[in-house]
């Protein structure tokens, strides 16, 4: 019925949506959208390193994003610059370094568009393995740090005072962010990964009155976006990343109608 590549893309996309759903909620709650952007911009450098040394792309992206996250934390401690300036500095300079390095790699044929916006043709069986085992690991670790991470998202001092060690949870969460970017880069593309994290979670916020519901709706929204996006990508021959994000946007707009209704009910 469908070609193999499309089945692979579907399985990959659904696996990614399962992970970006709950992580995206934390990105929205903790106001980390720019942080996500910075990590994913630095992913380009990770990809070039993967090609240069012939190592796995996901692994290389994961390592580079983690290093950038660590640099960010150090810069925050050692300079007086505001957080968003540091994020911008790291995002654009790592993107620039990545692009310059690509310029030197003339011996490799590069599909830049595929890197930036995702390519469903690029998903291999190996990628599926990485996405699903990596994704399962990410979710497992997230479940493990859920309590301290969530408590410190609500109020840092309460979490610290009552012995939950929020700093450790935050550090682990940063690594999870790098990991989710690493597993979704081929599918969504590095310019749009943050959208995959934020838009389904934002949609879910409009429909939820509890954190658990928001996580659930965020996952469902992500899954639907992947399904809608990939089928339209196949139908209209568009890049997979933008198609998925557009589907998510449509779901978000629909969720706004729900808000209007509930406001009417209250009045």
């Amino acid at each position: 019925m469908f070609d193999d590549f499309f089945i692979r893309a579907l399985i990959a996309g659904l696996g990614i949506a399962l992970v970006t759903g709950p992580l995206g909620c934390f990105v929205v709650w903790r106001r980390l959208s720019y942080f996500g952007d910075t990590l994913s911009h630095s992913a380009l450098l990770g990809v070039t390193i993967a090609y240069s040394f012939e190592i796995n792309i996901a692994l290389s992206v994961f390592l580079i994003s983690s290093v950038v996250a660590l640099i960010l934390i150090q810069l925050q401690k050692k300079t007086n610059l505001p957080g968003d300036a540091l994020l911008g500095l790291l995002a654009h300079s790592s993107l620039a370094v990545g692009l310059v390095v690509i310029g030197f790699l003339t011996f490799i044929r590069f599909d830049i568009m595929g890197l930036l916006f995702g390519d469903i043709l690029a998903v291999t069986t190996d990628d599926l393995l990485i996405i699903w085992t990596g994704g399962a690991l990410i979710l497992l670790v997230l479940k493990f740090i859920w309590k301290p991470l969530f408590a410190s998202t609500v109020n840092y001092e309460l979490a610290e005072a009552e012995g939950l060690n929020p700093d450790r949870a935050k550090a682990i969460f940063t690594i999870l962010m790098a990991a989710v970017i690493a597993i979704s880069i081929k599918m969504v593309g590095l310019l749009l990964i943050t959208g995959m994290l934020i838009i389904p979670a934002a949609m879910a916020r409009n429909l939820s009155d509890s954190p658990q519901k928001m996580v659930l709706f965020s996952i469902i929204g992500g899954l639907l976006s992947v399904l809608l996006g990939l089928f339209s990508s196949l139908e209209f021959n568009t890049s997979s990343g933008p198609s998925i994000i557009m589907a998510a946007l449509i779901l978000f707009i629909l969720s706004l109608l729900n808000i209007k209704q509930s406001i009417k009910l209250k009045n």
Binding site: L158, A159, E160, P211
Partner: protein, 248 residues
């Protein structure tokens, strides 16, 4: 001084400096099981800072803190919750520990806000939210309770009821309480030990000792000292051998 095993937290000459300015320094105090220690002092005298030192929120402190319990309930003075989070009272009660549903109901009943259990936290009034904060802190059945201006924004009758509740909790749970309050009336009825702060410990002791202290008088005025003496002989109950309170 030897350390009794009823000690929950002990500050030894503790202080905290931020941006080269001492917020508070040289504080020594001990909170024991079943005892209420109250911090009083003018604005900016370091009351909340002292509480945060005791809780371990501030890390780079002078002096030392010895903490002998991990079962802590905290009611902070200021709490900024981001309403991008959909959070009901029920979810908030489970924030730092998984508590059984009947324990949640019991705590919300005690502070008189059981009817708000499924309300969104963002829709509560200041006083309602304060009652939820207290309920959350006591529902964990903590060994150490740190209450920073716990009844701010609560109506007058509620304020008295909540202070009575706090006293009762200290008796029934046998937990130690570190209380910060600006309300000298209510403070003095229940407190075992008062520490008067003004950037440092200006005096400490039983409520009566503090009331007689000259530094206290200059800090709070002659009237405040009279407030304390009013409560000198206010014992309207005795304790039975089971620890229950009997009215005279």
């Amino acid at each position: 001084m030897s350390l009794k095993n009823s000690t929950l937290v002990k500050l030894n000459n503790a202080g905290f400096k931020q941006n080269d300015k001492w917020l508070v320094e040289g504080v020594s105090l001990t909170v024991e099981k079943g005892k209420i220690v109250t911090l009083i002092g003018p604005n900016g005298s370091g009351k909340s800072t002292t509480a945060k030192i005791a809780l371990g929120i501030y890390k780079n402190i002078e002096g030392s803190v010895e903490k002998y319990t991990n079962k802590v309930g905290y009611v902070p003075q200021k709490i900024l919750i981001d309403w991008t989070l959909p959070l009901r009272v029920h979810d908030f009660m489970l924030l730092t520990e998984n508590i059984k549903d009947d324990a949640i109901d019991e705590a919300l009943n005690l502070t008189g806000v059981i009817h708000l259990k499924n309300k969104n936290l963002g829709n509560l009034s200041g006083g309602e939210f304060q009652r939820v904060l207290i309920a959350r802190a006591i529902s964990k059945k903590p060994e150490l309770l740190v209450l920073d201006e716990p009844v701010q924004g609560v109506d007058y009758t509620g304020e008295i009821a909540l202070y009575e509740l706090i006293k009762r909790i200290s008796d029934t749970l046998n937990c130690g309480i570190l209380l910060i309050s600006h309300d000298l009336h209510t403070v003095m009825t229940a407190t075992d030990h008062v520490v008067c702060l003004n950037g440092h410990v200006c005096c400490s002791g039983t409520p009566m000792d503090v009331a007689k202290n000259n530094e206290y008088k200059t800090l709070f005025g002659e009237q405040a000292s009279q407030i304390l003496s009013v409560y000198e002989h206010k014992h309207d109950h005795v304790h039975s051998d089971k620890g229950e309170i009997k009215k005279n």
